[in-house]
């Protein structure tokens, strides 16, 4: 028995020792540590905070926030964080409750969506009181989010208020320009042809803001599968309105939208898959879409090109 245990131990030991390269979550310096949840929030915080803060974004590009699983390094980052900034409106689910509770001790906590007027939020007809959290594809809402971040960072570092204000000002100008670009591109399509069919309902606010009729195949929750009747109704809708393209999304599986394409084909109409849209996160550097602005531009280009 003892001999066998010894063998067991010698086999386990190397596993414990191996991989000694520990990823440090924040650099060692005097700047405050800020944790952002999604890549979109991270980009926003980066634009306002610049190099005055140490920033760590928990979720990587292309990760569905509902499916996010923390790594060991994330724990250290959370521990060292002076401030946690998240999207809110239940996008991060249960994590939000935890963040809010942490506010009672030593951490500052901020939901970028906190100042957005609840009346502007999309309520779900079936379940009132529960709002659509995908606020970022309406530039005006993202501008409000930028204000909230600016305010939050100023509370964190009052001494850098001037820098944050300057950063905010220039970023708001960039966002205005983005807004103009999105509107300009949208106008290339006649109003009645502005129909966006995607894999899940992440584009509600986009539709409101830029006059698109948005049809999602499945609900807000990426965990629920699309129902067969939803599928049939949507296929009929596509045929009736002669929709040219439907779109897949980076953080949800392609297969449901491809099933939709087949359903449309069965009715003798051919709908293209117009490309991939970013829904819950930014793209990555390899695609040149690692910022919010680039991500949104890529989306609107994909949509407009697909529908033209």
């Amino acid at each position: 028995m003892k001999k066998n245990l010894l063998i067991l131990f010698t086999l386990v030991l190397p596993i414990i020792i191996m991989g000694c390269e520990k990823k440090s979550s924040f650099p060692e310096n005097d700047k405050p540590n800020v944790v952002a949840t999604t890549t979109l929030v991270g980009d926003l915080v980066h634009n306002i905070g610049g190099d005055k803060i140490n920033l760590k974004t928990l979720m990587g590009p292309g990760i569905d926030p509902h499916m996010y699983k923390a790594s060991a390094g994330d724990v250290t980052a959370m521990q060292k964080a002076d401030m946690i900034i998240y999207s809110g409106i239940h996008l991060e689910g249960k994590m939000e409750d935890i963040f809010e509770n942490l506010e009672k001790i030593d951490k500052k906590v901020l939901a970028v969506s906190k100042d957005i007027d609840r009346s502007k939020l999309l309520d779900f007809a079936t379940n009132p009181g529960n709002y659509d959290p995908h606020i970022w594809f309406d530039v005006s809402m993202w501008k409000e989010s930028a204000l909230a971040v600016n305010q939050g960072l100023k509370e964190l570092m009052p001494e850098e208020a001037e820098t944050f204000d300057k950063n905010l000002e220039s970023y708001l100008l960039e966002l205005d320009e983005l807004d103009r670009y999105v509107k300009m591109r949208s106008n290339e399509i006649p109003r009645e042809k502005r129909i966006l069919v995607t894999a899940h309902d992440a584009f509600g606010y986009f539709g409101e803001a830029y006059d698109f009729q948005v049809k999602g195949l499945q609900g807000i929750s990426t965990a629920a599968e699309a129902g067969t009747r939803d599928m049939r109704n949507l296929a009929n809708f596509i045929v009736e309105n002669q929709v040219k393209s439907v779109f897949v999304e980076t953080s949800v599986p392609r297969k449901s939208i491809m099933a939709l394409q087949e359903a449309v084909k069965a009715q003798g109409f051919d709908v293209k898959i117009g490309g991939e849209l970013y829904s819950d996160s930014t793209g990555d550097e390899s695609m040149g879409t690692e910022t919010y602005i680039e991500t949104f531009r890529a989306n609107i280009d994909t949509i407009v090109d697909g529908l033209k």
Binding site: M1, N4, L5, I7, L8, L11, V12, I15, I16, M18, G19, C20, E21, K22, K23, H66, K69, A70, S71, A72, G73, D74, V75, T76, M78, Q79, H90, L91, G93, K94, M95, D97, I98, F99, N101, L102, K104, I105, F124, A125, T126, N127, P128, G129, N130, D132, P133, D201, Q218, G219, I220, S221, A223, A224, E225, A226, G227, D230
Partner: protein
């Protein structure tokens, strides 16, 4: 606040709390139950959501706990009909309740982000940040209190009902005759399983519920023949898996829960291979020894049967035995060598003779085998 230490504390508490009922679950061959519960609680969450209309209501967790109890209740009811095996009973209840939940979500709550993860935290990585803070004072992670309470309940339950749990798990019919109602104990055990599973789900997530409740008991089962020791070993193994898993995850910056589950699997695998009595190596060795022993006996019987015949020179010559028993020359030589070492045979002129010792042994083992055969024929 030291999340590294707290995560390991939570892991140890969950591991021990899960091991206690987990051992009996494994011995009842109902390990699948944990998997079922971690899925069916979704239905409890969905129904509680329809009642409260809110995703943040604490009633959703209550709904989850009730559904866990309902799952074990339905399984026990099906089980008690004796119409199907325990596994089949779980296999019916689990998909039924889970799919009702999915249908309800897609029909009535399609647009709301409603799934188990949105109600139960289910991430050990975040457990140290889910703290109890009253009046600005930090009392530590909620999970430690919650799972600590469950640990105490489980400990009291197993200690108080150890004897009853033992007999209803081993021999429910006798228990019933003795007046120890197996149904009652089973419902109590499964209730404890359900509460532990839901609590552990909230504290550490679904993967770890299964990993902690099933992995360590199965591993401990290979290491001991004593129920008490099995529970103790299981708790220790579970705690070690948690601590080792955490440290590897920190080094490699990967999912803590995932690493703990992987370590659970590795520990089991190592024990499965190296366990002193029930391990693969020991078992294979034992089989080889038994096979050789049996072969040696066959050879002895052969020689015994023929030693009084006239043509003993022919029958008991090595070359003829090789043909008759149809063994490889090398294998035969090995058996002969070991018998000679035992001084049970001697060889003269290539003919095998039994020694007196060998003859005595052969006759005795022959009678043993025939004796036990007679018993078998009687039945």
């Amino acid at each position: 606040m030291n999340p590294e230490l707290e995560i390991q504390m939570i892991a140890v508490i969950v591991a021990v709390a899960s091991s206690l009922p987990g051992v009996f679950l494994v011995l009842r061959r109902m390990a699948m139950m944990t998997d079922a519960i971690t899925h069916t609680i979704l239905l409890g969450i969905v129904i509680a959501f329809f009642i409260t209309g809110s995703l943040t209501s604490p009633l959703l967790v209550v709904g989850a706990a009730i559904m866990g109890l309902l799952t074990v209740f339905l399984t026990e009811v099906l089980n008690n009909t004796n119409l199907m095996s325990k596994d089949s009973a779980i296999g019916i209840v689990f998909p039924l309740l889970f799919s009702i939940a999915i249908i309800l979500i897609s029909k009535y709550a399609g647009s709301v982000h409603l799934d188990t993860d949105s109600v139960l935290l289910g991430q050990i990585e975040f457990a140290p940040f889910d703290r109890i803070i009253i009046g600005g004072k930090d009392f530590g992670p909620r999970a430690i209190y919650m799972m600590g309470t469950i640990l105490v309940i489980n400990l009291v339950f197993v200690v108080a009902f150890f004897k009853e749990l033992k007999i209803v798990t081993f021999d429910p019919a006798l228990a019933a005759v003795l007046g120890i109602t197996p149904t009652l104990i089973h419902y109590m055990l499964m209730g404890v399983v359900s509460v532990t599973a839901v609590g552990a789900f909230e504290a550490v997530g679904s993967i770890l519920v299964i990993a902690f409740m099933v992995g360590p008991p199965v591993t401990a089962y290979l290491l001991t023949d004593d129920l008490k020791k099995m529970i103790v070993f299981s708790s220790i193994i579970g705690a070690l898996n948690g601590v080792i898993g955490f440290n590897i995850a920190m080094q490699a910056d990967v999912s803590i829960a995932g690493t703990m589950a992987v370590v659970t699997g590795i520990t089991f695998g190592l024990v499965f291979i190296f366990a002193p009595k029930k391990g693969l190596i020991t078992t294979m060795n034992r089989r080889r020894v038994q096979k050789k022993q049996f072969a040696a006996n066959s050879l002895l019987f052969h020689i015994l049967n023929h030693e009084r015949e006239d043509d003993v020179d022919y029958h008991n010559s090595i070359s003829n035995i090789e043909v008759n028993l149809n063994w490889h020359k090398g294998y035969l030589d090995k058996i002969i060598d070991s018998l000679m070492d035992n001084k049970q045979i001697i060889i003269e002129n290539n003919i095998i003779y039994l020694t007196d010792e060998g003859r005595e042994y052969s006759i005795k083992s022959y009678e043993d085998i025939v004796g036990s055969l007679k018993g078998a024929y009687l039945s």
